[in-house]
């Protein structure tokens, strides 16, 4: 039960209690509970990942970058779905909206990647404020449908009435990404020692943003703020009775998660130099739902894992001769099985197995 709600005091206690007695599992748990170890694990993960990926998994660098981008998106989505218990079916509007904002900003204001990232994210946050304000009046199915409604509305807006801005069905092509801080070519190669692990600067840039995002999500979820999110998920009415302004916290959870979607969307534009109209369609929202649920809701690394797995299947497995035409179908079956049998996704399943093993050790 490693990813169960943990309040600030427990984390602090685990921090202070450095010399934990007991088995290896306890020691591992106390190590993992510290924020710095989460960040370190993420750093090691993203640093070694492309090397493993390129050499053992038939992948390619561009896909590794894309996985991290969608990973950021999924981590943010999980703050809303897994921790606060709100299922949004319109999250593509923040991903795609930020992608468009970033693209348009790069073409007409500044091509600096950092500013583009900032502009896209800021746009997603502002948009989330409005959409969240309007769709959070109702829970459950009403919330899902209202977000879906706003998502579809934005898709059709971008498709034709706003085509003079977005270039309609052809997607936004005039993206212009300059060099990082004026010196580093973001689409160029990396200097020597790094070449052993990664190929291009873009991955490094996305990896740094991804690590920062994971650290940020970790900090939010382990703060008293995150505890309130979980309280709302467990029992909204009870949270209200103890005096919490539930509506405001839900809105903040929505905006925070949209900010992650915005970061991911902006990176998507920087990575691909192109914004497809499809990025606003509701199937894109569906994709992020699948990634997050498949990987594991209510955990930090589950959604990252889910995003990676989804894209891996989509790009690599779909190329296999026999499985290729059926890959989406297989994914659907796996998804349904996960929802029915493993509500906490693959990551939750791993946790479950480990708990069984560790529990056996104790007895």
């Amino acid at each position: 039960m490693s990813d169960e709600p943990r309040d600030a005091t427990a984390t602090a206690a685990a921090d202070a209690d450095a010399e934990v007695t007991g088995g290896l599992a306890d020691r591992w748990a106390s190590f993992r509970d510290r924020e710095i170890s989460t960040v370190l694990l993420t750093v090691v993960g993203v640093a070694v990942f492309p090397f493993l990926f390129n050499n053992f998994l038939d992948g390619y660098t561009q896909l590794a970058t894309l996985m991290l981008i969608y990973g950021i998106f999924a981590v943010g989505f999980d703050i809303l779905l897994g921790y606060t218990g709100l299922l949004s079916f319109g999250h593509a509007v923040f991903f795609g909206g930020a992608a468009y904002a970033a693209g348009i900003f790069s073409a007409s204001v500044s091509s600096s990647p950092l500013l583009v990232l900032l502009a896209g994210t800021a746009f997603a946050v502002l948009l989330a404020w409005v959409v969240g304000f309007l769709s959070l009046r109702r829970g459950g199915i009403y919330f899902a449908i209202l977000t879906l409604t706003f998502g579809q509305m934005s898709f059709y807006l971008a498709a034709s009435p706003l085509a003079f801005l977005t270039n309609g069905e052809n997607g936004f092509t005039s993206v212009d990404i300059g060099s990082l801080l004026g010196v580093i070519d973001i689409h160029g190669g990396v200097p020597f020692p790094l070449t052993m692990l990664v190929d291009d600067m873009l991955y490094v840039f996305v990896a740094v943003v991804a690590v920062l995002s994971v650290a940020m999500a970790n900090r939010i979820l382990h703060s008293p703020y995150g505890t309130v999110f979980r309280a709302i998920r467990e029992n909204e009415r009870r949270a209200e009775f103890v005096g919490l302004d539930v509506w405001r916290y839900k809105l903040m959870a929505f905006i925070i998660s949209a900010a992650f979607a915005g970061i991911a969307g902006s990176l998507f534009t920087i990575e691909g130099n192109y914004v497809p109209l499809q990025s606003l369609y509701w199937t894109e929202s569906g994709r992020i739902v699948i990634m997050t649920v498949l990987g594991g809701v209510g955990s930090l690394f589950g959604p990252l894992f889910g995003a990676g797995l989804y894209l891996y299947i989509e790009n690599i497995v779909s190329g296999f001769e026999t499985l290729g035409p059926f890959w989406h179908l297989i994914l659907g079956v796996v998804f349904v099985v996960a929802v029915v049998l493993f509500p906490n996704g693959i990551w939750g399943g791993i946790d479950y197995v480990r708990d069984m093993v560790v529990g056996g050790e104790d007895e």
Partner: protein, 312 residues
């Protein structure tokens, strides 16, 4: 009298456009209202209905998908449109029963987010299965020969006969369901169960069977919608999800569980869409229905005809 003719044409076209939304929404609505089950796979049932209708009405050449690769050149039995209108609802009714027993029932006590997730997954499975087997190409669905071509109406002038057919079929089906729910013992039990299931059970009435039937009827309506809506546009694996969102909007605008609400909302959406297209704002026609839906939901979250009570 050309203005009057324009208005009537828009209304008739809106009626036809809305009819498909209504057919889907009524099924969605009675399932949601009675069983409190959110069925994101409703669009998939529409899709099944459309393909099944295609299969029954004619020989469809296959040049794409796994079946074609396995050497099957066409599918279909050519029994005609009326046969499709009879067989499809029966088959999809049975699919609905199976869905209730084996999927939905396990989710009645789980949060509605889980219901949305599992039915969303089912929708993907159905859609992708059809795509894998039959290919992703659009296939034309012929209008029934007895209803093709235009008909001369007073004032309006020539109007496609099939569109009137769509309106008529929808009217008959929706009235039938309405009568079933409002005026029969079955409908009484279902309604009572919606209000207070516990009490109905205490009276010695088993609710699981009526619920099963409600799910089946809802599914059958989606199947018929596929047959009726098929000839209006080509059939491809995406039409299910494309219809799902407007259908949901119709339900929520009209008020969950209200058949008359679904009718009013469906006609509103259909007419608005046609109005925008015919007045030269085609680009806004899709945006318009979503904006209208958002507006209604913000002002009256329980829907136009929904009661304040049954909102959770």
């Amino acid at each position: 009298m050309t203005l009057l003719a324009d208005i009537l044409t828009i209304l008739l076209n809106g009626l036809q456009q809305g009819a498909i939304y209504v057919l889907l929404a009524v099924g969605l609505s009675i399932i949601l209202g009675t069983l409190k089950f959110v069925n994101f796979a409703h669009g998939a049932l529409y899709l099944v209905g459309a393909y099944l209708g295609l299969f029954i009405t004619g020989q469809v050449p296959l040049n794409d998908g796994q079946l074609a690769e396995w050497g099957i050149q066409s599918y279909g039995i050519g029994l005609g449109f009326v046969a499709a209108l009879v067989i499809v609802p029966i088959v999809v009714f049975i699919i609905g029963l199976l869905m209730e027993r084996f999927i939905a029932q396990a989710f009645y006590d789980r949060p509605d987010t889980d219901q949305i997730l599992v039915t969303f997954g089912l929708a993907i499975i159905v859609q992708e299965l059809l795509r894998a087997l039959l290919g992703g190409n659009s296939q034309p669905f012929q209008q029934p020969s007895w209803a093709s071509g235009p008909i001369a109406l007073p004032v309006v002038g020539n109007f496609p006969r099939w569109r009137l057919g769509v309106i008529a079929i929808t009217a008959v089906l929706v009235l039938g369901v309405y009568a079933l729910v409002e005026y029969t013992d079955f409908g009484l039990i279902v309604q009572a169960g919606t209000l207070d299931g516990e009490m109905v059970r205490l009276l010695g009435i088993k609710l699981s069977r009526p619920y099963l039937v409600v799910f089946g009827i809802g599914a059958a309506l989606a199947g018929v919608a596929g047959v009726v809506g098929g000839p209006l546009a080509n059939v491809n694996p995406n039409i299910g999800t494309e219809q799902l969102v407007p259908a949901f909007l119709t339900v929520v605008i009209g008020g969950v569980g209200k058949i008359e609400g679904a009718v009013v909302a469906g006609l509103m959406l259909g007419t608005l869409q046609v109005f925008l297209i015919q007045t030269g704002y085609a680009a806004w026609s899709q945006v318009g229905i979503y904006a209208l839906a958002a507006l209604v939901l913000l002002v009256r979250p329980q829907g136009l005809l929904g009661s304040e009570v049954d909102v959770s």
